[in-house]
């Protein structure tokens, strides 16, 4: 017959297996830091070189002359792909180091759950671009990204959900404060990513 401690261990075992099989805990803090840096470089580049200035567009139609939406889309995609690539690479490395397979039921679930809001957001943004409503790109990207983090956060560190809430709030704020939206975007995608990356790194990786 087992003693009390064994029963407690059984409960601990059940809990640990449930968590391991549903939550991907190998997300790399460094990936967050790098994503923040890419985002800051990206927004700087968009403003300085592509002349992207949401405050100057007006809410509905853009009236400037020098702005090339195709290069902005390209830049946005480049930042997205670099960030995702870095996150996938660093997190797989981390999982392998922990002796886990990076592509397991937990990471699959995380990827699916974040992809749905993200893809919906991407398509929404394309529709707005086709209407030349470039000012809305910043709020939309923050809101949909925040929704995606909030939704996917259940499958990873719980802090991710809070980051999602922050991104959504910044996105909603920037809808009302279009002239400050680049600053809010830099705050959300740049600064917050770096802060969260450092926090996750110190909390879970040391």
């Amino acid at each position: 017959m087992k003693n009390n401690q064994n029963y407690s261990q059984d409960i601990a075992h059940i809990r640990s297996i449930m968590e391991q099989s549903t939550r991907f805990m190998s997300l790399s803090g460094w990936a967050g830091i790098m994503a923040g840096i890419y985002a800051l470089l990206g927004i700087w580049f968009a403003n300085k070189w592509l002349g992207y200035e949401p405050g100057g567009f007006g809410f509905d139609r853009w009236v400037g002359i020098d702005f090339k939406p195709a290069s902005l889309i390209g830049l946005g995609l480049a930042v997205l792909i670099l960030s995702m690539g870095t996150a996938i690479y660093l997190s797989s490395q981390k999982a392998l180091k922990e002796g886990k397979k990076p592509w397991n039921s937990a990471s699959r679930r995380l990827l699916m759950n974040t992809a749905v809001p993200l893809v919906a957001g991407g398509i929404t943004m394309l529709a707005f671009i086709s209407q030349q409503m470039y000012s809305t790109l910043i709020p939309l990207s923050l809101i949909f990204y925040g929704l995606s983090l909030y939704h996917g956060g259940r499958d990873s560190y719980k802090e991710i959900r809070i980051l999602g809430i922050f991104e959504i709030m910044l996105g909603l704020m920037s809808l009302f404060l279009i002239e400050y939206s680049m600053f809010l975007w830099a705050l959300g995608f740049g600064f917050l990513h770096i802060v969260y990356g450092i926090y996750l790194h110190y909390k879970y990786e040391r």
Partner: protein
């Protein structure tokens, strides 16, 4: 209240079987390799325990092919769900009563 070691299900005494049930309780289904990685078990060992749970009617097996590779997916039956919940409740009551 008298209870209880008897409320614990024999099938879940083993750590691997307990692990299989825990994982399937929170996943719609898992395939053999996912379970193997999760529970750190050998092929033979895991297969034996899966068979015995299947015999108890606690888990359901669905075989299919991914390309040419056979793929076996396991999911929990309602009976399994009930037995597992009862088992956890019994564990908790025993721990409580011994405190």
């Amino acid at each position: 209240m008298t209870l209880s070691i008897h409320d614990l299900h024999k099938a879940f005494e083993n750590r691997i079987r307990l692990g299989i049930m825990s994982a399937l309780a929170v996943n719609e289904y898992l395939d053999f390799n996912a379970l193997k990685e999760l529970l750190d078990a050998t092929d033979g060992n895991l297969a034996t325990h899966l068979k015995s749970l299947e015999k108890e009617n606690f888990i359901k097996v669905r075989k299919s092919f991914v390309g040419r590779k056979p793929n076996t997916k396991y999911s929990m039956t309602p009976e399994g769900q009930k037995a597992f919940t009862d088992h956890i409740n019994a564990l908790e009551r025993i721990i409580q009563s011994q405190k």
